[in-house]
């Protein structure tokens, strides 16, 4: 740019700037339409008044947030108490998403490692195999999972047949079923970034560690994991965030008792019984929570990096 300015005056620089503006335009438009606009709409809706039978009245109101955090009794004139119902649902969502992330990590890391250590021409084949189930619609996969796990399903039949259990395990409609469903829904999001990181890993470092008397476990913990940490973090975020807001797995596999925040929000926009401002408010709170969790995570990461860990 400096050379252009020196030789051809400001014309070259201007042309360059103009070209850059035009070339970046599609990206900006996409970002605005797909990310910024929906979030702003949601923010606005969360401060509006609800219309019975769905929809909103364009009148400012804090009722949605009030309903989320405070209990003012049946007629709304009791002194406000903290409303625990929704906070509990939130807490359960974090917990379930966390468990699903952990499960994905425990299964996904060895899987990614396995793929990354195959012969170079076989790696794309394994990645392809991992993604095949995800060509089927999520709804169908989740329903199939329910079928597999139910009391008279193939899993229980198999376990009874080989004599491991006498009576069917009740898996459907438990927290565990939801975790299993979320794990299965988002596993590739864990596997792929870790795979990419392990593939870039210099296996000479593992050899060097073994050469310096480190056991396999120590090598994994002290050398491999720190090297592929960015991939692991990316995988955890990519599984945790959509799990938090998921509603298919909790609805189909968890039943009414294992309600998650995603289902709560979905309910508010379904049919005539919904409450749009309340759904929008819950979405905003979810978004804020996720951002806070990510920021805490990022800050600790930076701290660990600084202390030379």
């Amino acid at each position: 740019m400096a050379a252009g300015a020196a030789s051809g005056g400001s014309a070259t620089t201007d042309t360059y700037k103009e070209a850059r503006t035009w070339l970046l335009l599609p990206a900006w438009v996409t970002l605005c339409i797909l990310i910024l606009a929906p979030v702003l709409m949601m923010l606005v809706y969360s401060f509006l008044t609800k219309e019975f039978r769905g929809g909103v009245i364009w009148e400012f109101s804090l009722a949605a947030y009030d309903q989320f955090f405070f209990d003012r009794g049946l007629f709304g004139d009791d002194p406000p108490k903290i409303e625990w119902t929704y906070i509990a649902i939130f807490w359960r969502s974090i917990w379930q998403a966390g468990a699903a992330t952990l499960l994905s990590l425990v299964i996904g890391f060895p899987t990614a490692y396995f793929i990354a250590t195959r012969a170079e021409n076989m790696r794309p084949v394994w990645v392809f195999l991992i993604t095949i189930p995800y060509w089927v619609n999520l709804l169908i996969r989740t329903v199939s999972m329910k079928f597999l796990l139910r009391d008279q399903g193939p899993l229980n039949d198999f376990l009874i047949n080989i004599g491991l259990i006498d009576s069917p395990l009740h898996i459907v409609n438990t927290n565990f079923a939801v975790q299993l469903g979320l794990f299965y829904s988002y596993l590739p999001f864990m596997v792929l970034p870790i795979y990419a990181a392990v593939e870039r890993y210099n296996f000479n470092l593992s050899e060097a560690a073994a050469d310096l008397y480190a056991s396999k476990w120590t090598t994994l913990r002290r050398i491999l994991l720190p090297a592929v940490k960015p991939g692991v973090i990316a995988g955890c975020i990519l599984v945790f965030v959509p799990s938090m807001g998921s509603f298919l797995a909790p609805d189909l596999l968890g039943g009414a008792k294992n309600f998650m925040i995603g289902s709560l929000i979905e309910e508010q926009f379904k049919g005539n019984a919904g409450n749009w401002p309340f759904g929008a408010a819950a979405s905003m709170i979810l978004l804020t929570m996720v951002l806070i969790i990510l920021m805490i995570f990022a800050r600790q990461q930076a701290k660990a990096e600084k202390s030379g860990g």
Partner: protein, 369 residues
């Protein structure tokens, strides 16, 4: 197949490789190699890329398993031990420093793994860094160091746990010439100082000659010759060694007669030379002869009965030497090297001049194959 290790062997032989074979599927990387590396020796595995030298080193380190044969370390059979159970350490070609650890922690790693407390390991690692003159960099990360500095950290890290044998896999190949020369001397010095047996892998014959007590020249998975630098330079066993080590005139000759341990050889174009006879090369054999260019000199008149008449084609100035290319009458080309410091005693002729090429006694060697 395995003979008992004698007590004296146990002390004197650091690494004993016995009939080691390495196969990858149908490909044989090492064909039955046997060699003994002595205690406190600077031993070099030398050969072109793909000759199996790195494979052999990695088998000693434990990164490759041994298809057949055995490896002993001071009398203990080690070929089935994993790398972390072998008291040998490696300096890797690309250094393989742990990027997320400081220099000090890199060097302390092996000590810690051997059970030293973190504090002790760091103290000792600090001493090692002093030895390689990098103390002031101990808090830095490897990426903040130059190639030569990383090289010295890799060396300090491998030496810190006091291995019985240090393995070096082309450690200097990434350095520029000047730094490489300095490191060659430093490595040699470190080996003397620590008394640790070094096994050094390189494809650079000059490096091998400079540093080694003994050299094993390898090619195509086989050992071609084992000996001191002087041995393999002055008395190459075969054509590969003569050609790979240094520069030489390789001539096709036929042996015309043998008398009193001297063979008379015909070079073509009516030229004849005599040299020491070699067992197994009889009258009538067509073999190769090797003559080092620095052991030839030129004169205007024949100085001995064996002066070969020819014409100077070209003189090439290469700093310390002048290389002269001579075309013998109806015979092969010869390369003659004259040291610049020797110009007072030896003559240089202008291109086109007719002259005689003479040979120092014992300079020509017949090669078996």
């Amino acid at each position: 197949m395995l003979r008992e290790a004698h007590l004296s062997d146990k002390e004197n032989i650091a690494i004993d490789v016995r009939d080691a074979v390495k196969r990858y599927g149908d490909f044989t990387a090492l064909k039955k190699i046997s060699l003994s590396i002595m205690d406190n020796e600077f031993f070099t595995l030398l050969g072109p890329s793909g000759c199996g030298k790195t494979t052999l080193l990695r088998m000693i380190a434990g990164f490759e398993d041994v298809t057949e044969g055995a490896i002993f370390l001071y009398g203990d059979e080690i070929e089935n031990l994993p790398p972390n159970k072998r008291p040998v350490n490696t300096v890797f070609q690309n250094y393989a420093l742990f990027p997320h650890m400081t220099i000090l922690d890199n060097v302390a790693f092996g000590l810690e793994m051997r059970g030293a407390s973190k504090a002790d390991a760091r103290t000792k690692a600090g001493e090692m860094l002093e030895l390689v003159q990098l103390s002031q960099f101990s808090a830095r990360k490897p990426s903040q160091l130059s190639g030569g500095q990383q090289q010295r950290v890799a060396l300090a890290r491998a030496l810190a746990p006091q291995p019985k044998v240090l393995l070096l896999d082309e450690p200097l190949s990434a350095l520029d010439l000047k730094l490489r020369k300095a490191m060659q001397l430093e490595l040699k010095h470190l080996q003397r100082e620590t008394g640790i047996t070094f096994i050094f892998v390189t494809h650079d014959q000059e490096e091998a000659l400079t540093m080694s007590d003994r050299i094993a020249v390898m090619s195509a998975g086989e050992m071609q010759q084992l000996g001191s630098p002087t041995d393999i330079y002055e008395r190459p066993h075969n054509m590969f060694v003569a050609d790979f080590i240094g520069e030489t005139n390789l001539l096709e000759v036929s042996v015309d007669g043998i008398a009193d341990g001297r063979a008379t050889c015909h070079l073509g174009g009516g030229h004849e030379l005599t040299c020491n006879a070699v067992d197994g090369i009889g009258v009538g054999s067509k073999v190769h002869m090797s003559i080092r260019p620095e052991r030839l000199y030129m004169s205007a008149e024949p100085t001995a009965s064996e002066g070969l008449h020819g014409r100077v084609k070209d003189n090439i100035f290469v700093g310390t030497d002048i290389t002269t290319i001579v075309q013998l009458d109806e015979g092969p080309d010869f390369v003659v090297r004259t040291s610049n410091s020797d110009r007072g005693n030896k003559r240089i002729f202008e291109p086109g001049t007719e002259m005689f090429v003479n040979m120092e006694r014992g300079a020509a060697r017949l090669l078996a194959d």
